[in-house]
C-alpha cells in the first residue's frame, strides 16, 4: 500500500515534469498540447452521472428480508426479492419549452450494484433546466422486439403474444394474505387489449416528470432518480395484491393501472 502510494506520488509529480521537458526539447511553440486540453474540456457540454435509488415507505429498500417490513396502502405487509426496471430518453427541459434528450436506456437490477449508477455517454449542454423527465420503459419507437442484445441476454423480452418488445419492470416479493404467504410479480410491459372484435397492443410506457427537478448544468453533474416502490400500489388506484399478485402480464386492467400509478412513483434529488 505504501509503495503504491509512493509510485502514485512520483507519477503525479513526474508526469507534468515530463510534459515540461517534452516542451523544452521542441523548438516550436507547444501548439499540440493546447489543442488536446481544449478537446478534453468542452465548456459547453458536460458528463452527467445518475444514481438509481430505491425507497419503500421512506426507507432505503433492502432486498430479501426474512420478515415483511413494508406495507401497501391496501394494508398488505410485503418484502421484495427482485427489482429490475428500465428507463430511457432522459430529457432536460428548459423554461422556453426547448429540451435536450439523452437517447440512451438503462436497466437497473438492484441485486447488481454496478447497475445502480447510470453514466450516459451523451454529454448534456450547459444551461439552466427547469425540470428533468424520462421514459419509464421504452416508448413505442424504441420498444423494438429483439432490438437490444444486452437486454435479450438477461431475459428482458416481453412475450410476442402480449405484443413483444421488452419488459419495463419486474418487481417481485412475498406478502401476507390473511395469515398465508403469497407471491407477487408486478411485471410491466405492453398492454394487450382483447375485445370481442379485436386484439390490440397498447404502448404502456409513461413519461415520469418528477417535481422539484430543476438543475443547472455548468460542470460535471450528478443527481439521483428515486423509485418510491410503495407508490406503485397507491395513487390513484389502490392496488390489491390479492387481486393482482402473480400472472398479471396478460391482464390488461393491471397493466393500465400500473401506467396510471407510475407517474407518482419517482422523485429526483439534485
Amino acid at each position: 500500500m505504501k509503495n503504491k502510494f509512493k509510485t502514485a506520488l512520483i507519477a503525479l509529480i513526474a508526469l507534468p515534469l515530463l510534459s515540461l521537458f517534452l516542451v523544452s526539447c521542441e523548438d516550436d511553440e507547444p501548439k499540440i498540447e493546447t489543442k488536446i486540453v481544449k478537446e478534453l474540456v468542452d465548456p459547453t457540454r458536460y458528463t452527467i452521472s445518475i444514481d438509481m435509488k430505491q425507497k419503500v415507505n421512506g426507507n432505503d429498500l433492502v432486498l430479501n428480508t426474512a420478515n415483511k417490513p413494508y406495507t401497501t396502502k391496501n394494508g398488505e405487509a410485503f418484502n421484495v426479492t427482485k427489482l429490475r426496471y428500465l428507463i430511457s430518453d432522459i430529457t432536460f427541459n428548459k423554461a422556453d419549452g426547448s429540451s435536450f434528450t439523452i437517447n440512451e436506456y438503462h436497466l437497473v437490477d438492484i441485486s447488481n450494484s454496478t447497475t445502480l449508477q447510470f453514466n450516459p455517454t451523451t454529454k448534456v449542454p450547459a444551461g439552466e433546466y427547469t425540470s428533468i423527465s424520462f421514459n419509464f420503459g421504452f416508448d413505442r419507437e424504441d420498444n423494438i422486439t429483439n432490438g437490444y442484445s444486452d437486454l435479450t441476454t438477461v431475459l428482458w423480452n416481453w412475450p410476442m403474444p402480449l405484443g413483444g418488445g421488452y419488459h419495463f419492470m419486474q418487481l417481485e416479493g412475498k406478502f401476507d394474505s390473511l395469515g398465508t404467504e403469497k407471491g407477487f410479480a408486478t411485471h410491466m410491459g405492453t398492454a394487450r387489449n382483447i375485445t370481442p372484435t379485436d386484439t390490440t397492443f397498447e404502448d404502456n410506457h409513461f413519461v415520469a416528470k418528477p417535481i422539484a427537478s430543476a438543475i443547472t448544468i455548468d460542470g460535471e453533474e450528478s443527481f439521483s432518480i428515486i423509485m418510491n416502490v410503495e407508490q406503485w400500489y397507491e395513487n390513484p388506484y389502490t392496488w390489491d395484491l390479492n387481486k393482482y399478485g402473480l400472472m398479471i402480464m396478460p391482464k390488461y386492467d393491471a397493466q393500465r393501472k400500473l401506467n396510471l400509478n407510475g407517474p407518482s412513483v419517482f422523485t429526483v434529488e439534485i
Binding site: 512520483i10 430479501n64 431475459l155
Partner: protein, 351 residues
C-alpha cells in the same frame, strides 16, 4: 528516499524525452529468443446468437488454435488426476460428450453439463466461483481435482504443446486452467429444432426442421405467465441459452440444502441453486442439482403440484401451474425440441 527516486526519474525522463537514436540496442536485446506465434481462433457462433451479447473473453487468454488443442488434450487426460481426489479420472470421465458433457455423479450430485459456458460469470451449483471460466478452471485444477502436473511437465509432447500455446510461460496450474478454459469456451451448442425456429422467425436461413405444431404449442405454454411461466428463469426466443444463470430456490424441499448460502453465508440464499440451461435435456437426465427426478414428466409434475414452501422460495413458484395432461405433453415436446444432436457427436470436441 522519495527524493532520490524522484531525482532519478527526473533524469530518466529527461533522457527519454530528448534522446531518440540510442534505443535500438534495447529492442534487439529483448528478442534473443525466437518468437513463438499462436494462431488466433475466432469463436464461431451460430448466426442467431447475434441476438445476445457476444461472450467476453479475458484479454490475457485469447482463444488460439494451440491453446484449444492443449485444453482438449488436458480435458481427456487421466494423468492429470494422479494421486489426487479423483485419481485415474479425467474431466471427460464424468463430463461425457454423449451426455452433453454431463453425467449422474452419484451421491446426490448431478454433474453440470459443459456447453455454452462462455456466457455465465458465476459457476457451480452453489455459485462457489464468481468470475471467468479461467477462475473456475483454476479452482478445478488446484482445489477440486488437485491436479498433478509432474507427469505433464516431464512429457515432451506436453512441453511442446504448452510452448506452442503459451510461449515460454511455465507449465503450471494457471496455464493448465487457461488451456482448459479455452477449450470449454469452444463448446457452443446451438443446433436444434428450437434454434431453427429462432432462425425461421427472424428470416435467417436454416437447414433441417423447425418446430412442429405440438412443439409450438409447448413453446406458447413455456412463455405464458398464466401457464408454464418457464421463461422468466429459462428464457424466451431469440435467446438461445435457456437460462439466465441466476441462483434460485425452486421449492424442491421444505428444508432445502444450503446451496448458494454455502458460498455467501447468507440465510436469504439457503436452498438457492444455479438455474440450469434447458438445452440438451434428452442427454442430461436425471434432473435437478441432486438428480432426484428421472424423467421430464416427473419434473413437470413437480412444478405443477409438488412444490414445497420454504422461507427463501422464489415467489413465482407460489402458484398453481395448471396444465392439463395434453398441455404437459406439449410442453415436454417443446423441451425435447431444444436437443442439439450434432453437439454430442461433434468430432472437434471428441478425444
Amino acid at each position: 528516499m522519495v527524493k532520490s527516486i524522484l531525482k532519478l526519474s527526473f533524469i530518466i525522463l529527461f533522457l527519454a524525452a530528448c534522446k531518440k537514436e540510442d534505443n535500438s540496442d534495447i529492442i534487439n536485446e529483448q528478442k534473443t529468443d525466437k518468437p513463438i506465434t499462436q494462431t488466433p481462433y475466432a469463436l464461431n457462433l451460430p448466426p442467431h446468437f447475434v441476438y445476445i451479447d457476444r461472450p467476453q473473453i479475458p484479454i490475457d487468454n485469447p482463444l488460439t488454435v494451440e491453446g484449444i488443442a492443449l485444453g482438449k488434450k488436458l480435458y481427456y487426460e487421466k494423468k492429470l488426476s494422479k494421486g489426487g481426489a479423483f485419481d485415474g479420472l479425467a474431466c471427460a470421465s464424468c463430463h461425457l460428450q454423449s451426455q452433453s458433457f454431463s453425467s449422474n455423479g452419484g451421491n446426490n450430485t448431478q454433474v453440470i453439463p459443459h456447453f455454452n459456458l462462455a456466457w455465465p460469470n458465476q459457476f457451480l451449483w452453489n455459485g462457489k466461483i464468481k468470475g471467468t471460466l479461467e477462475d473456475v478452471m483454476l479452482f478445478e485444477v488446484d482445489d477440486f481435482f488437485q491436479a498433478n502436473l509432474l507427469d505433464i511437465k516431464s512429457d515432451p509432447e506436453y512441453q511442446n504443446m504448452y510452448k506452442s500455446a503459451f510461449g515460454n510461460e511455465a507449465i503450471d496450474s494457471k496455464h493448465t486452467a487457461y488451456a482448459l478454459a479455452q477449450f470449454l469456451r469452444t463448446l457452443v451448442s446451438g443446433d436444434s429444432k428450437a434454434d431453427n425456429e429462432i432462425k425461421k422467425r427472424n428470416g435467417i436461413a436454416y437447414t433441417g426442421q423447425a418446430l412442429n405444431a405440438q412443439e409450438k404449442r409447448g413453446y406458447e405454454l413455456f412463455i405464458s405467465e398464466g401457464k408454464g411461466d418457464c421463461m422468466h428463469c429459462h428464457g424466451i426466443f431469440p435467446n438461445p441459452l435457456w437460462t439466465d444463470f441466476e441462483y434460485r430456490n425452486n421449492g424442491l424441499d421444505a428444508n432445502p440444502d444450503s446451496g448458494l448460502a454455502q458460498t455467501t453465508r447468507r440465510a436469504s440464499d439457503v436452498g438457492k441453486f444455479k438455474t440450469p440451461s434447458l438445452r440438451n435435456l434428452v442427454f442430461t437426465s436425471p434432473y435437478m442439482h441432486d438428480g432426484r427426478f428421472q424423467t421430464l414428466e416427473e419434473v413437470i409434475d413437480f412444478y405443477t403440484s409438488g412444490v414445497r414452501v420454504s422461507p427463501t422460495i422464489d415467489p413465482t413458484l407460489l402458484k398453481n401451474r395448471n396444465l392439463t395432461p395434453t398441455e404437459k405433453l406439449d410442453l415436454i415436446a417443446f423441451l425435447k425440441a431444444i436437443t442439439d444432436s450434432t453437439f454430442v457427436t461433434n468430432p472437434a470436441f471428441s478425444e
